[in-house]
């Protein structure tokens, strides 16, 4: 560098056309391509048991990608993501049972309400970071658990606040264009792909750069003109939105949800697996989703108690924290980079 010591003036340099930079469109298209291959393989190869597990896994990966925005982009530890999945699923069910709109409308409502709740849950993050934020969000997840178990998770009875009364739960119908298990899996994969692409686009665009500055330090971000409050709030809303959509897709998978599935422990588990899967690469979310649902399914298939997964995840988390902070996805990315050493820098996943 500095081969030419003569100073260039701004007017001279402004004459030169801006250098051509690779557009991120190719990388976004790669997400669609990978997801298409993955979805086709599952749709063709999986039996009913595995198809249901894969559907839940892909739906949950949407909530993981939301969590990855907070942790991977902003460095914020939020331990209430599964509560937001519950909020999204619950709103989807209630809107569906009360007004019978198309599934997509209920799902969108679930996403929006979860985004708003996520925004409220994110308020402590305006002042807190690290362990303190983690504790506060874990308490919020605990509060959600307490409320739904004390009040009953209203999911099967008539009306907007209806509860199942023992006569059997009303089931939410799947979307009209995806009623069978295979079409519904592809339907979930489609929305997950859209979610991955939206999050990845954020990383290449203005919000991603602003988040990177906030992660570096709020003073640095402000000195660069970043409105820290707005961009943090947007991250929480986006994260909550995808958690809500994940909840909606889970509700659509079996037509109902069980309130006991949304305990604070699940939020902890989700966060742990976000780290194990990898929060800096989009496919880390898919890996985390598969770990969350496919590993227990595999153990059940082998006749082993599903609770063994907790131990396995604990070991995996220890491994990730000790040796692979970018998670399994980071290790895959490292392997790919090693296989093509001619590719030089500037490759932001």
């Amino acid at each position: 560098m500095n081969a030419n010591p003569a100073p260039l003036t701004f007017s001279e340099t402004a004459m030169a056309a801006p250098a051509k930079r690779p557009s991120p469109a190719g990388k976004l298209f790669a997400i669609a391509a990978v997801m298409a291959v993955f979805s086709a393989a599952v749709a063709i190869g999986a039996n009913a048991f595995w198809l249901s597990a894969a559907t839940s896994a892909v739906a949950l990966s949407l909530s993981v990608i939301g969590l990855a925005v907070l942790y991977g982009q902003l460095g914020l530890v939020s331990l209430c993501q599964f509560a937001l999945v519950g909020v999204g699923g619950w709103v989807t069910l209630r809107i569906g049972h009360a007004y019978h709109p198309p599934f997509e409308v209920s799902m969108l409502a679930g996403g929006i309400v979860a985004a708003l709740v996520g925004l409220v849950f994110g308020i402590p993050a305006l002042r807190l970071r690290g362990l303190y934020l983690a504790l506060v969000t874990l308490m919020l997840a605990g509060a959600f658990q307490t409320i739904i178990s004390a009040w009953g998770f209203p999911d099967g009875g008539p009306g907007f606040l209806g509860r199942a009364d023992g006569a059997g739960r009303a089931m939410l119908a799947r979307p009209a264009l995806a009623e069978g298990p295979v079409p519904y899996f592809l339907y979930v994969s489609f929305f997950a792909t859209i979610g991955f692409i939206i999050v990845q686009w954020h990383k290449y665009a203005k919000p991603g750069r602003a988040w990177a500055l906030i992660r570096k330090g709020e003073t640095v971000a402000i000195a660069s003109g970043v409105n820290v409050l707005t961009y943090k709030a947007w991250a929480f809303a986006l994260s909550g939105f995808f958690a809500g959509i994940a909840g909606a897709l889970l509700a659509g998978n079996v037509g109902q949800l069980d309130g006991r599935a949304f305990s604070a422990f699940e939020s902890l588990n989700l966060f742990a697996l976000t780290i194990v899967g990898g929060s800096f690469h989009w496919y880390g979310a898919l890996i985390a989703g598969l770990l969350l649902r496919a590993v227990p399914a595999l153990l059940t298939d082998l006749g082993i108690d599903g609770y063994v997964t907790i131990g396995i995840f604990g070991v995996a988390l220890f491994h990730a924290l000790a040796t692979a902070p970018a998670g399994i996805a980071g290790q895959i990315a490292g392997l790919v980079a090693r296989l093509k050493p001619q590719a030089r820098g500037g490759n932001r996943a």
Partner: protein
Amino acid sequence: MIEISNITVRFGGIKPIDQLTATLTAPVAGLIGPNGAGKTTLLNVLSGFVKPMEGSILLAGVPLLSLSPLRRVEAGLRRSFQTEQVVEDLTVHDNLSAIADHVVPAGERARAVEAALSHVRLTDVADLLGGRLNLFQRRLVELGKCLVGQPKLILLDEPAAGLTDEEGAILRDLVLGIPAVTGAQVLVIDHDVELIRAMCSETMVLDYGKLLALGPTAEVLANDNVRRAYLGEL
């Protein structure tokens, strides 16, 4: 022109800046003083991170203290930090785009970033990740960020810290070129008196939050009080 009138900053029982009044007119002005003299505090007052108890500051006739830190950036205030703050997982280009996003109108960002990259001679490494840069390149990225948009006042907090003499000389030339190409005034804090001597036509010396001397750099550095308080002579 920066007009500082009667600025006092108080942190609990201490006053890092005590009734400071000074007017800086040189295109590249220097700010020196021993540790704890209030240099960085003054920079933080100018950029809005520290609120003074009293006093006023005019930048080119416009009152600064009523503006939030963000509004000041929009109004053309730029600063670098003592420890460089390059984002490791953004490219050099994106490190500059990150500020252009907020201070340059949408259609002109690419050109503004290219112009700034070119001025600090980082065009060749524009696509390299921040984490792969050496210290000199990182300092240049910081300088480049200050040039994006239409800066009016650029505050450089020890821009040459850790650089070799040769690198410092290149940085000095780049800084000297800033007022002519951007129209911005530059205020440099540094411990390196030789760098200040070579770069700044006007220098302000602080000592325990008070103005010790202000004027043409050669005269200020020859001043007995300055040599006693700062240079450790006499």
